[in-house]
């Protein structure tokens, strides 16, 4: 860029006796560059319109003008039916719980207009999304980073390694809905189950141990969703981590080995610390992707409505993993496409979209900032 800038400055001006540039070429240049400029700013404008619409309308749901300024009910309650009614000349909009309390307090029965999904809040969706992301990233990072270390540090370069790299790279581009149907067919319907007691559809027993095994499926559950999402980001995590590992100059490893360090010591002290920021960035991108995807969890983990929070009403600990959860992206889909639309659902839609956008965009922003900082920090 600086080269261009200086060039522009030192271009011969009139009066030096050089032939003047044909003005036609200059004016086309200016016109074409303006076209590009307009196109670029048009993209920014479109994106800004989306952001601003959702932020503007969503913040009306999430924030309020009086203390405590944040709509606590929206962030801490489960989605409920909204009751709209008039009582003693005043208009009320109350979600189901509050409405029952209101009735009990006054000792009356009131006829109301009800709107499904329009009252209450989105707390279970936030919880579900967090659980899915944590679960999926734990699986994906463990498998992904360790695999990347193996592929870049231990494996022998050759045709097989190249083929594996190529196929991992290719899998990174597979549509998420394909992972969704895989998750449904594999985990939800045919996931392997171990149990201490015989269950319906078990295949065999590890005799004489009282352990039964069978491909009975995990049903729509947190576990199935985590695994589906994990496998979706696995190619991305592997290829991004491997790339940042391979970006470390050979010299560092060699110097360390020359000093008598073992292979692992060399990797631990001279490769991983420098590759860590890169791995971290890739994993944050993975988190944003996992949190933002809807298609893979639609049939593997998400319930449209569930009254209990994941830790409520469990009979045994394993039930925690084998229960469906609500999730923010799926909730947006449900409230915007599956239920009748009216002014009250709109509030819910924008509020959910706003919270979701803030979460995902916040994660993504962190990764972008981190990357920019890193680029400045390490230059080989």
């Amino acid at each position: 860029m600086s080269a261009t800038a200086t060039l522009r400055k030192e271009r011969p001006v009139e009066g030096l006796g050089f032939h003047k540039k044909p003005s036609k070429a200059k004016s086309t240049e200016r016109a074409v560059f303006w076209l590009f400029r307009l196109g670029t700013y048009f993209i920014l404008l479109c994106a800004s319109v989306i952001f601003l619409t959702i932020i503007f309308k969503g913040s009306q749901t999430v924030f309020q003008s009086s203390f405590p300024f944040v709509n606590v009910e929206f962030l801490t309650e489960a989605p409920q039916t909204l009751h709209v009614f008039e009582y003693e000349g005043e208009k009320y909009e109350l979600s189901d719980n509050n409405f029952r309390a209101f009735e009990a307090e006054r000792g009356v029965e009131i006829k109301t207009d009800t709107y499904a999904y329009s009252g209450g809040g989105i707390w279970p969706c936030i919880v579900g999304t967090v659980l899915l992301v944590v679960g999926a990233m734990t699986i994906a990072l463990t498998l992904g980073v360790l695999s990347a270390i193996f592929l870049s540090e231990y494996s022998k370069p050759g045709k097989i390694l190249n083929a594996i790299r190529l196929s991992i790279l290719n899998l990174a581009g597979v549509p998420s809905v394909v992972f969704g149907i895989f998750g449904l067919g594999f985990f939800v319907l045919a996931g392997p189950i171990f149990s201490f007691s015989p269950f319906e559809g078990y295949d065999f027993q590890f005799w004489p141990l009282p352990i039964y095994f069978g491909f009975a499926g995990w049903n729509v559950s947190l576990l199935a969703g985590c695994f589906t999402l994990a496998f979706m980001v696995l190619p991305i995590v592997i290829s991004a981590s491997e790339e940042s590992l391979r970006a470390i100059p050979q010299g560092l490893r060699e110097a360390s080995l020359a000093l008598g360090a073992s292979k692992w010591t060399a990797i631990r002290t001279n490769v991983l610390p420098y590759a860590m920021p890169g791995i971290l960035t890739s994993s944050i991108i993975g988190v944003a992707r996992v949190a933002g995807e809807t298609a893979p969890i639609m049939f593997t983990a998400a319930y449209a409505m569930r009254d209990q929070l994941p830790w409520e009403g469990l009979e045994k600990w394993s039930d925690f993993f084998f229960q469906g959860v609500m999730a923010l992206p799926y909730h947006i889909y449900v409230v915007s496409a599956k239920i009748p639309q009216n002014e009250y659902t709109e509030r819910m839609q924008y509020g959910t979209a706003f919270v979701f956008l803030v979460i995902v965009a916040g994660i993504a922003l962190a990764s972008i900032l981190l990357r920019i900082r890193m680029r400045k920090k390490y230059r080989w």
Binding site: I181, Y333, S336
Partner: protein, 530 residues
């Protein structure tokens, strides 16, 4: 690097501790290797599993088509085609009347006056409609027979399976109680075939009737409409000529003709219908979904390519550093917007905006505007373009950035303007990278689910490309959308379930192909960097 054996010989530290005959280094290598193996197995498993579930589809589908033929439904379908093309004629006739009615209304005639005007040829229309009744009733009757036969057959097959299951479990007594009817489909087909002379008689009567009626066409008195009347006569006579074809097809039809795997395959790949949960016959043809996906993706690419590549050129070649530092992260940030949020924006704001905008005065010159649908291929395409732009932009910008500085400097030194340098040197040099960026953007668009599910309108039909530009403003359904919409409701292992897996497999292969091409292009057309 790879000769760890030698390294370890002099590595006294790691030699000292051994667990299960492995030193620490080897154990760690095993751990990493094990993980890598698990990852690779898992990823291979995904591919394998998709193929396994999809592969069962063609067998089941062949079986379904076979049943469709054996039970005579196919035979009835031929008659139905004839009947529906007659209905089409009726509709044409009625459209003439409708046009006349609106014309009269515009002339300011009152309702009764207009009615009197129309009455002159209303009888003709009614007569024509009446001619078709025997045909449509006959077809309905035959349809009942064929469906009844098919349903009985399926039911008895289910009972038989139930009985066999009971026998296998050793519950003989219960099994004996299950009554299984032996349904002989050929009996029913015989009934259908027996009726053929009746059908031919109906056809003859119909042909005679049409000829009688069309020989004496009523005149309306409006040149444009009379022209249409003449056209109607031609169509009607064409229909009469076509009847011969239906009759020969009926005659040649054989319920026992073999149904090969090829038929099932062709019916999936080239099938024009995707009909599920139908009482007559389910069809799983991927063509309407595939063309829908393609249409939406092409709209998106038409918008995204100029904008994305243009922005990449602008940022890399023209923009000031301040602009670069702001715009690049911003566009990258766009890719972080979750697709469901963009879809929601489309359904809540953008779809309505497009419909309103199509009614603006500047578009009044085009007869396709204003459009009536809110959710169309165009709506989804625009939003998908926004999702493809970051991909295209980032990769194209990278490619442009990789062009050696010397190329640019040499060109400028030769006296080329910046535009000439950009267009003739920089872009051609980085063209392979730009093309692969476009391909990857295309891959992203065609695999996108939530936006098309929410905004494309979800009408399963092959877009009618004869409509010109209006095609883009029709609702469509897509491959990704159908999976998301229908997978939640299917029975495990049913043909519908497997059909969706096949659609998933098509998507999978398509995205692999796109990725592969993108990589190949980058490698093959890389200009040597001297």
């Amino acid at each position: 690097m790879t000769k760890e054996a030698e390294t370890n010989r002099y590595d006294l530290h790691s030699r000292s501790r051994r667990i299960l005959g492995l030193d620490k280094d080897q154990a760690l290598k095993g751990l990493f290797g094990g993980n890598a193996l698990v990852s690779i197995i898992v990823l291979a498993l995904i591919t394998f599993f998709l193929f396994k579930e999809g592969a069962g589809f063609f067998g089941q589908y062949r079986h379904e088509i076979e049943l469709y033929r054996r039970s005579g439904l196919e035979y009835v379908e031929i008659m139905k085609e004839e009947s529906s093309s007659y209905t089409e004629l009726n509709r044409y006739l009625n459209s003439i009347k409708g046009e006349h009615a609106t014309m009269l209304k515009e002339q300011g005639l009152s309702f009764s006056e207009a009615k009197a005007e129309l009455a002159s040829y209303e009888d003709f229309i009614y007569d024509f409609e009446d001619l078709g009744y025997p045909l449509s009733e006959y077809v309905l009757e035959m349809n009942e027979i064929a469906i009844g036969a098919r349903d009985m057959y399926v039911e008895s097959a289910n009972y038989r399976e139930h009985r066999e299951n009971l026998l296998a479990l050793g519950r003989d007594e219960e099994a004996a109680e299950v009554e299984v009817l032996d349904v002989d489909l050929s009996l029913f087909v015989g009934m259908l075939k027996e009726g053929e002379p009746d059908f031919l008689a109906i056809n003859d009567k119909l042909a005679a009737g049409i000829e009688r009626l069309t020989s004496d066409l009523p005149t309306i008195g409006v040149a444009k409409l009379d022209e249409k009347m003449q056209r109607f006569r031609q169509l009607a006579l064409m229909f009469v000529a076509e009847m011969e074809g239906y009759e020969t097809r009926l005659k040649e039809w054989d319920s026992q003709a073999p149904v090969g795997m090829g038929v099932a395959f062709a019916s999936f790949v080239f099938g024009k219908d995707w009909v599920t949960n139908s009482s007559i016959q389910d069809w799983y043809g991927i063509l309407p979904l595939f063309t829908g996906s393609l249409l939406v993706a092409s709209i998106a690419m038409v918008i995204a390519i100029p904008l994305g590549v243009g922005a990449a050129i602008y940022i890399n070649q023209v923009a000031t550093p301040a602009e670069q530092n702001f715009i690049k992260p911003y566009i990258e940030f766009i890719s972080a917007i979750p697709s469901v949020v963009i879809g929601f924006f489309g359904i809540a704001v953008f779809g309505e905006f497009v419909r309103r905008a199509s009614g603006w005065a500047i578009f009044s010159g085009f007869d396709i505007f204003p459009i009536s649908e809110r959710l169309t291929a165009f709506t989804a395409g625009c939003l998908l373009a926004l999702m493809a732009i970051p991909t295209i932009f980032t990769l194209a910008e990278d490619a442009i950035n990789n062009v050696p500085k010397a190329f640019k400097e040499a060109s400028l030194a030769m006296g080329a303007t910046r535009l000439q340098t950009t267009m003739r040197i920089i872009v051609p040099t980085s063209l392979s990278g730009i093309i692969s960026a476009i391909l990857l953007g295309f891959g992203r668009v065609i695999g996108e689910t939530m936006v098309v599910l929410l905004c494309a309108g979800n009408r399963i039909e092959i877009p009618d490309f004869t409509n010109g530009v209006a095609t883009f403003f029709e609702p469509v359904h897509t491959m990704t959308g159908i999976i998301a919409q229908e997978l939640g409701e299917v029975v495990n292992g049913s043909i519908h379930y497997r059909a969706l897996f096949m659609v998933g497999m098509v998507l999978f292969l398509l995205s692999l192909l796109i990725n592969y091409l993108a990589q190949k292009i980058v490698l093959k057309y890389q200009i040597s960097r001297g």
